[in-house]
Amino acid sequence: MYVYDEIDQRVVDERVAQFRDQTRRFLAGTLHEDDFRALRLRNGLYIQRHAPMLRVSVPYGLMASKQVRMLARIAREYDKGFGHFSTRQNIQYNWPKLETVPDILELLASVQMHAIQTSGNCIRNVTADHFAGVAPDELDDPRPWCEIIRQWATLHPEFSFLPRKFKIAVTGSPQDRAASKVHDVGLNLVRNGAGEIGFEVLVGGGLGRMPIIGHVIREYLAPRDLLAYLDAILRVYNMGGRRDNIHKARIKVLVKAVGPAKFREMVDAEFEKSRDIAPVLTDAEIARVKSHFVPPKYELLQDEDVVTGAGNEFRNWYQRNTRKHKIGGYRAVVVSLKSPQRPPGDITDVEMEKVADLADQYSFGLVRSTHDQNLILADVRQQDLKAVWQALQAIDLACPNIGTLTDMIACPGLDLCSLANAGTLDVARQINERFDNLDYLYDIGDLELKMSGCMNACGHHHVGHIGILGVDKSGEEWYQITLGGSAGGQDAALGTVIGPSVAKNDVPETLDRLICVYLEQRVESERFVDTFRRIGVAPFKARVYAPADQAA
């Protein structure tokens, strides 16, 4: 993984000093609350329902075991002993004290971490495919490019006060696991006719109040122009994006208003005009960053059959929670943060330390976070899988449900977030209780359930095969259901609302009815979302809104 040099270290160290001074001035009353708000948000610090919330950046989801141990220590010493992994591959703490945040940032800086630009109207954490570097279908590793973009975006003098937040994702596989089509900018690694690596550039995708799939504005962008072209996009957005209405300020609104074709012309014109002043990404810099992402020293191993003769539990876990690796004899292991009693994405200090130990012992000392709120040990020898499984099972991180309905994404919701309209954690618990039979879950198969507690869509509900959106109806929590969304690759789509929202306690029953329709209608090995696309919303709608005595 990328290791800081002296420059990188100075940036985070000086950021700590800067924020310590800002906090001191705020507490002393010489820095106005509104100004401090804009500044603390740039360090990921929100003032939430019960306490501040601190969001720590995990660039493209990659962490060294040493960093994970530090996250555990912070959870223990500055929070209530747990952290929450978010859909941006970051980790959030829900109970730090404002005055201790500079100390937390200092601890983070000591292990080459930070909270820079994890919030606020600036360029946010750059995300990537969580199987980067190990996926068999990968064209090129997106992480060096993410790191280059991270550095370019950090404290950018011109683009640190944008109309609204700005999210970039990079993916290196045709099967887009980074949801690049629903980002402000999505970069897909491609090859041109001459076989050279470059980027397909998408712009203006997003979720939130105006969910929309991004538009391709460049079919092939050469690596040397990557930062120059991003500069051009950001400059057009910084000058043209709306600042009069926070809900219309994202780049997608600008792209929609002028039209993707016109937007493309504007960016191309800006790109051409700025050739003399734009940054050039040199081969030397690309090589320098790439040198940090060389593959680990894999052993020469053969794929082996580790499931024959193994018990059902291990077999289930192997099938659901491990993935094919590009190197023979290895598997990638998904560490499930979705066991029934656990709020999705939550992990305790002790669990984090155990995962760090497992990473050291079995996976080259690295841990990844995923945008669907799990962790990954990416390089586990197949011969070690049983040991890893047992160790994870002992700490409740081996729930064999990855990719199933209970591997759901959920934002923290009304329990913790001051933006939320409705709770998500209760609903997640109810769903877990209702769908507690693994055989039934396996029969249902791959199903992405995504839940947000408000329109801001941190839980990505629009792109769930089943999406659940919490809404407030005269002070009561209700839930709107969408079907048929998808975040990935060629079939990225936004879900269709099935009808009026349902009451909190009716959510599990509603899901049950949706699943019944699917099980009755599916053909062969169709996934839920495939069946939905084939038969449309009507049969689902009819069942969900049928009176109880006719629904069965």
């Binding site: 420059i7 800067q18 820095l31 370019w152 404290l155 640190s160 006060f161 944008l162 910084n238 990404l281």
Partner: protein, 162 residues
């Protein structure tokens, strides 16, 4: 009175806004962009120094033909969330090669100065009541930078040795 920082020092302001000095007795006047557009020809031969004050939606490229005559561009900020002025300064300095003073005016706050200076601002009007004691250190908040910009400093390109 706002406090003026120029070249990292607090200095007395030798410029006046035209509305504060309608008779033009002062020898350095700042004229709002719209009025400058309308009255450009009549001011051209006036024997004092001229500056133009622009808002976030004013197009800096319109000023390029005026660089022989104007020696200051004041860029307005309505608050910490207003970010267009950074691009305006960047374009003035780097694309259009304006060499006069670029001044940040309006609600300018200490913690913006580092970014502003890197975009080409060299003068800053801090509003009344601003905490002047801590302002001058803002330029040194960071000793290293990742981006190429008008100021000397480490950046991607130099770091890569080209």
């Amino acid at each position: 009175m706002p406090q003026l920082i120029r070249q990292r020092k607090f200095v007395a302001d030798d410029w006046r806004n035209i509305d504060d000095d309608p008779t033009g007795r002062e020898r350095a006047l700042i004229i709002p962009f719209a009025r400058w557009q309308a009255e450009r020809d009549q001011w051209w031969l006036w024997d004092g120094k001229l500056g133009v004050r622009i808002g976030p939606t004013d197009a800096v490229e319109a000023l390029e033909r005026d660089f022989l005559r104007i020696s200051l561009v004041a860029i307005e900020f309505s608050g910490i969330g207003e970010g267009r002025g950074y691009t305006q300064a960047q374009l003035l300095r780097r694309r259009y090669q304006f060499t006069g003073e670029i001044r940040a005016v309006g609600k300018v706050q200490r913690d913006q100065l580092f970014y502003m200076a890197r975009c080409g601002f060299d003068a800053f009007e801090l509003p009344d009541g601003a905490d002047t004691a801590v302002a001058l250190t803002a330029f040194d908040d960071f000793s290293v930078k990742y981006q190429d910009s008008i100021d000397p400093g480490l950046n991607l390109r130099r770091r890569a040795g080209t």
